[in-house]
Symmetry: C2
Amino acid sequence: MRDEKSAGRPKDPDRRDRILRAARTLFLRDGFDGTSIEAIAREASVSKVTVYGHFGTLSALLEAVVEAEARAINRALSAHSIPDGPPETRLTDFGLHLMALLRRHDAQDLEHLVTARARDQPNLAEIYFRCGPARGMEMIADLLPPDLGDRAPQAASALFTLWSGGEHHRAASGLRAPLTDDEMARHVRQSVDIVRKAFFTASR
Amino acid sequence: MRDEKSAGRPKDPDRRDRILRAARTLFLRDGFDGTSIEAIAREASVSKVTVYGHFGTLSALLEAVVEAEARAINRALSAHSIPDGPPETRLTDFGLHLMALLRRHDAQDLEHLVTARARDQPNLAEIYFRCGPARGMEMIADLLPPDLGDRAPQAASALFTLWSGGEHHRAASGLRAPLTDDEMARHVRQSVDIVRKAFFTASR
DNA sequence: CCTATATTGAACGCAGCCGTTCAGGTAATA
DNA sequence: TATTACCTGAACGGCTGCGTTCAATATAGG
């Protein structure tokens, strides 16, 4: 079922790749509405008909882009092993890695793309959320002290919100300059500290 | 200077109002790129030339809409007087009022409009941020215990982030159904509790 | 070699919005 | 009343993207 070879010339995977990359570039630069299939075809050095052949819809292209990006981030996230130690240390380590990763992948702008399309493309929002924030909170929950019980999801949600909220407000305020590595590290640490004081029993 | 009456027929303020309301409706429903001046003119039952006469640009219209909305929210926020009591009670009261207000004004969607345009219209982002999040954090800071010192801004930022983060993630995940009043109240209270445990010295 | 499919470049008609112009009617001020 | 500016409806040329079609060429498997 999986690799049914139909007769005739197969679709060129390299072209497919170029189209995806072009779509990613243009979506991030010009937004969904600002991006046309014709522009993507130009950017990918491919004919318009080919784009229609591989995807068929701008929405389908966006979906493919978001899914690919979510997979890539998750892969990188799983590859990173966290050294042993107390929860606050491990959480900080994870947070630093997560924030750096999200920045490298323009996660902020990807999220804007998704939220902008959430009304017309709810499945897209679902893909993003499942592989994005939801997955992140799961991984946080795994690093929390085991004695939190049913308060673990709440703590994970709070920490994730604090971590990502800073960048979010910066973007909303039009400040495009990213945080320094130092500022980011401090922010990650402070957020962990808030959650520690609010939720951890032993080290209060 | 302010009310210089130039001769001739003055611009009809009612028409201006209809245009603004139509713009707000369409911007929220279809986004910035999905909204055209012609559509706004239709929706406002006004000729296209009149829209150009009153505003001239789609960006100017968006700016006017956002500014009007920010003013309206701030007016309502100032009108609400908070009963005396301990900081956690006053913060909760303020939070409940704030969240209800933001929902009623579709603040979530307005913010999406702003962030989407932040790159091309940085002044818009500034208007929004100054009258929006920044103003909110100031008001929070005023309700915090006075002994926080230089940690007050940090606490205010954390609380604001926690409050608005929940709705934000719901929107990002495509869940359009709003929180129940009860769920919202619990969320506001829990966020206050986190900040209290993390920052307040006396009641720790 | 044969066949089925991909790919290309070009063109198609259609639709929407842009920003402006014009003539003709309207309403406020001096 | 005369003046001045507003408002309307319609039209303008131009642009861009849509989604499809066509003939010509290229490239895989059988």
